[in-house]
């Protein structure tokens, strides 16, 4: 029986799914999902009205972060896990510069097209979710998605075996779709200071949950561990240990993504492996109900190219150390909550020994990571996908007590 998809209730999002054809770039591995169920452009109600209410159907999603909606009525099973669909770039509910919801009045004030502003004034609409042209997060339209970022995410998804890149789990992108021309014209009229001039896209992706590690969701694993456990229905020691094992396995994979995706490009004479660029485990990853960490924001995952073996080893170490605190935090939070729920009364040293056993068990079959315990120390022996005899790296995961 697959592990079910879970989500924390949040504000409802009223969207309209347009029937009209638009430019779509899809993931062939997940084509059937797109073709059969998800096909369509997801636009906010107010934009739809401003665009003259073209043919489409109403859809009620759930707000996720500031520009996404969860489409929890559409769920799919991949392997042993259920996922729901989510759309990124379907408008924002919040003002880009103030801690307040977007309102019709705000939108009128930032509208640079008198005709559209006039139409907006005639619409007495409470829901002001909107895709704007304010440049945000580099060169991304606030509330929408830029094509380059969307494409990077799709490229990472194409590299996966559906939801997994060599043990590293992702929230795969099903398809990218460009907003229809009329909607792009409307969006480009709304900005506060700096106007975005590119095209407007959306990502449709699959997620196993909306529980992020520490930031940017209504319940986060680090801050609200008890609520997350309730959501994941973890009640027995067996279920908690299974969860912890999956979490350990998937976080260790995330820490060694570069090594496990390493390739040697004989044409350029360089090594390439996937690295994180302005994305982090604490805010850009979600945790599935079975504990498997899934990286959600794939637009920040790109190849890192280096020439010399020393630089490869340096990259492996850098990626590991950059993210290991977040990984340890999640393991510790899970262990503490397990002890709390089951009143295990373990001492800190017992917890550390327990976590050591779990991590070792989790990585037993991992082809890129070996975990060794030497006394009370624990080491991770990373063996990259290519040239492992030359490029292997030993990293201390738990220090000793001396």
């Amino acid at each position: 029986m697959p592990s079910r998809a879970v989500w924390v209730p949040n504000d409802p999002v009223s969207l309209v799914v347009l029937n009209q054809e638009t430019e779509v770039v899809g993931n062939p591995q997940l084509e059937s999902l797109w073709r059969d169920r998800l096909r369509g452009v997801y636009v906010p109600q107010l934009m739809w009205k401003l665009a003259g209410m073209p043919a489409g159907r109403q859809y009620r999603g759930i707000r996720d972060d500031n520009r996404s909606a969860l489409l929890t009525d559409d769920r799919f099973v991949i392997g042993e896990r259920e996922y729901f669909a989510a759309v990124k770039g379907c408008g924002s509910d919040f003002d880009a510069y103030e801690h307040s919801p977007l309102t019709s009045e705000t939108l009128q004030a930032i509208c640079h097209d008198p005709e559209i502003a006039s139409d907006l004034a005639d619409l007495n609409n409470g829901d002001a979710r909107f895709v704007t042209a304010e440049r945000w997060f580099g060169n991304t339209p606030y509330g929408g998605q830029a094509p380059d970022n969307a494409m990077l995410g799709l490229l990472a998804s194409l590299r996966a075996n559906r939801n997994e890149i060599d043990g590293f789990y992702i929230c795969p992108i099903v398809a990218l779709l460009q907003l229809p021309e009329r909607f792009q014209r409307i969006a480009s009229s709304f900005y506060w200071y700096r106007k975005y001039t590119g095209t407007y896209w959306q990502e449709v992706r699959l997620m196993p949950s909306n529980v992020r590690l520490y930031f940017q969701s209504p319940v986060t694993f680090g801050a609200d561990t008890g609520e997350a456990f309730a959501l994941f229905n973890l009640k027995s020691l067996e279920s908690c240990e299974d969860f912890l094992t999956n979490l350990a396995r998937s976080t260790l994979a995330a820490l060694t993504l570069y090594a496990r995706t390493l390739r040697y490009d004989s044409r350029s004479g360089c090594y390439m492996g996937l690295g994180y660029h302005d994305v982090w485990l604490d805010k850009d990853a979600v945790i599935a109900a079975d504990g498997t960490l899934h990286f959600a924001d794939l637009e920040g995952i790109e190849d890192v190219r280096v020439g010399r073996p020393d630089d490869v080893r340096e990259q492996i170490l850098m990626q590991f150390y950059r993210n290991v605190y977040e990984a340890n935090f999640s393991l510790e939070a899970t262990a503490v909550e397990t002890e709390r729920r089951l009143a295990l009364n373990q001492s800190r040293s017992e917890r550390r020994a327990w976590l050591s056993e779990i991590i070792q068990k989790a990585c037993r079959a991992d082809p890129y990571v070996k975990v060794e315990r030497r006394g009370d120390k624990m080491y991770v022996f990373v063996e990259p996908a290519v040239d492992k005899s030359d490029l292997a790296v030993e990293i201390e995961l738990f220090s000793g007590g001396e």
Binding site: N161, T261, R364
Partner: protein, 494 residues
């Protein structure tokens, strides 16, 4: 001769450390029957060792196969196999079967590593999961129950856990029954009331009856619906029908206003007097008036708490002031929380010295668990349990509430657990057990003397209420007059 707790603790601790230890066949049998250990014969041990002999080879094979199956794209390096789709499917199936063998062997290997040879029986023994939990129980309670038989001790622990589970189950059922006709009712507000009602044996019907009475209670008209829950909880745990309770409440309310005690939350004070016989309400009011004159407190509600203590007014005033001085001398800054905590402890049957040391030990453990750690520490310190015991019961209660998912926000869990733990932490029976560490200086005789019996009778058995981020307590114990000036009916404290 059955095994004692202290002996079992020694054996199980050795097994946990995987150290060689000797114990008799009978002892081994008893531990096995109680599911605290796993036992393995020498033959089975040998078979298991054979089964894991090729563990490292198998492990290496799984890793190699997984590498070979690596299908992520990117620039192709030498050494990566290009799979045909049908071959890939077959290879993945084979990999799964080898992986399953590895998992099986790993389980056996872990089991072997945990086994310790018992030369007295000729068997290999390891600690079972239940054994780990029992070690934790025994370490918390060994001072009190170290000389008890192991089976009786385990039953005692099971009874405590079952009772907690049932309380939460009952509360959960009450919430569901109460919520279903009122979908707009705020659930978090209902949960503390449901826990209290469940522990008092109040069923949904009684709770409904008293909830219907709440808005008719004098002075409560302007209160929001969730506050009426507390009213109904107070009323439902008192005996009597609607008319009887309404009459008692009205008398209490009139008395409070008549004697100038209607300030603060008079309605709540009056509600807490509804289980007091009519003829004793006057004495209670007198004590409150007197205390209001002679004790300086930042919160008038604390006066009501002192008034219901089993001491004379002058005694409790003296205890309260001694406690404030002692707690401040520990290094805590005097503030309204400290004064409330001292008011709670002043009503306890324990000496000021014992209370101060228990409070100090508990504050350290409860800091960061509660916003008002002083108040929670005072609640637990006032009971007869040693701090380690109180914390053990508290952790169990946290676990029970969490496992039942009886919360919306994780911040509710500890407050609900504190309501549950006080049911156990103040159990009058516990004080008659051999004294643990913190009671060493005031041991109680095994055969209760008249004085001991009086103390036991006076030991409050409180029900605690949680309302607007404040705790309110009321003893469920019967009134026991020790002096004409002593009152025992208790309204609330904060």
């Amino acid at each position: 001769m059955r095994m004692l707790v202290s002996r079992a603790l020694g054996i199980l601790e050795a097994l946990r450390r995987r150290e060689a230890t000797e114990f008799t066949v009978d002892e081994q049998m008893e531990l096995l029957n109680l599911r605290l250990v796993n036992v393995c014969s020498s033959d089975d041990y040998g078979k298991m060792r054979n089964a894991v002999r090729d563990f490292s080879v198998l492990s290496q094979k799984v890793r190699s196969m997984a590498r070979e199956l690596d299908t992520s794209s990117g620039p192709m390096s030498s050494g990566f196999r290009r799979w045909k789709k049908s071959e890939l499917v077959k290879a993945r199936e084979l990999y799964k079967s080898v992986l399953a063998r590895l998992e099986d062997a790993a389980g056996k290997k872990a089991a072997i590593e945990a086994l310790v040879y018992n030369s007295a029986s000729g068997f290999y023994v390891s600690l079972a999961l239940e054994g780990r939990r029992t070690i934790s129980d025994m370490n918390s309670w060994k001072q009190r129950f170290g000389s008890e038989e192991l089976g009786a001790f385990i039953n005692r622990m099971h009874a405590m856990r079952n009772s907690m589970e049932l309380s939460v189950l009952g509360a959960s059922s009450l919430v569901d029954q109460f919520m279903s006709p009122r979908p707009g009712m705020i659930k978090p507000e209902l949960r503390p009331s449901a826990i209290i009602a469940s522990q008092s044996g109040v069923d949904a019907e009684r709770f409904e009856e008293m909830f219907a009475l709440a808005p008719q209670t004098h002075g409560m008209e302007a209160y929001p619906e969730e506050d009426e829950l507390l009213v109904s909880t107070y009323l439902s745990s008192a005996t009597g029908g609607q008319e009887h309770l309404a009459s008692r409440y009205s008398t209490a309310h009139s008395n409070l206003f008549g004697y100038g005690l209607g300030t603060g939350n008079a309605e709540l004070k009056a509600l807490a007097l509804t289980d007091t016989p009519m003829e004793q309400q006057g004495e209670m009011v007198d004590r409150m008036r007197w205390l209001k004159e002679i004790v300086v407190l930042p919160d008038e509600n604390d006066i009501a708490w002192l008034a219901r203590s089993p001491y004379t007014v002058l005694e409790v005033k003296s205890r309260y002031e001694e406690l404030v001085s002692a707690v401040v001398a520990l290094g805590h800054q005097e503030n309204s929380d400290i004064r409330t905590a001292c008011a709670i402890m002043a009503g306890s049957a324990l000496s000021v010295d014992v209370l101060t040391r228990k409070f100090d030990a508990l504050v350290g453990q409860l800091r960061y668990v509660f916003d008002a750690a002083y108040v929670a520490a005072a609640m637990l310190a006032s009971g007869p349990l040693d701090p380690d015991e109180a914390m053990h019961v508290f952790k169990e209660a946290v676990g029970v509430v969490s496992r039942a998912n009886f919360f919306d926000d994780a911040g509710e869990v500890e407050n609900l657990a504190l309501l549950i733990v006080n049911r156990y932490g103040t159990d009058a029976q516990a004080i008659r057990q051999p004294p643990p560490r913190f009671f060493a200086e005031q041991p109680l005789p095994e055969q209760p003397s008249q004085e001991d019996e009086r103390r036991r009778q006076m030991t409050p058995w409180y029900y605690w209420y949680y309302w607007h981020n404040r705790y309110y307590g009321r003893p469920m114990y019967r009134y026991y007059r020790t002096h004409p000036g002593h009152m025992h009916t208790v309204p609330h404290f904060g």
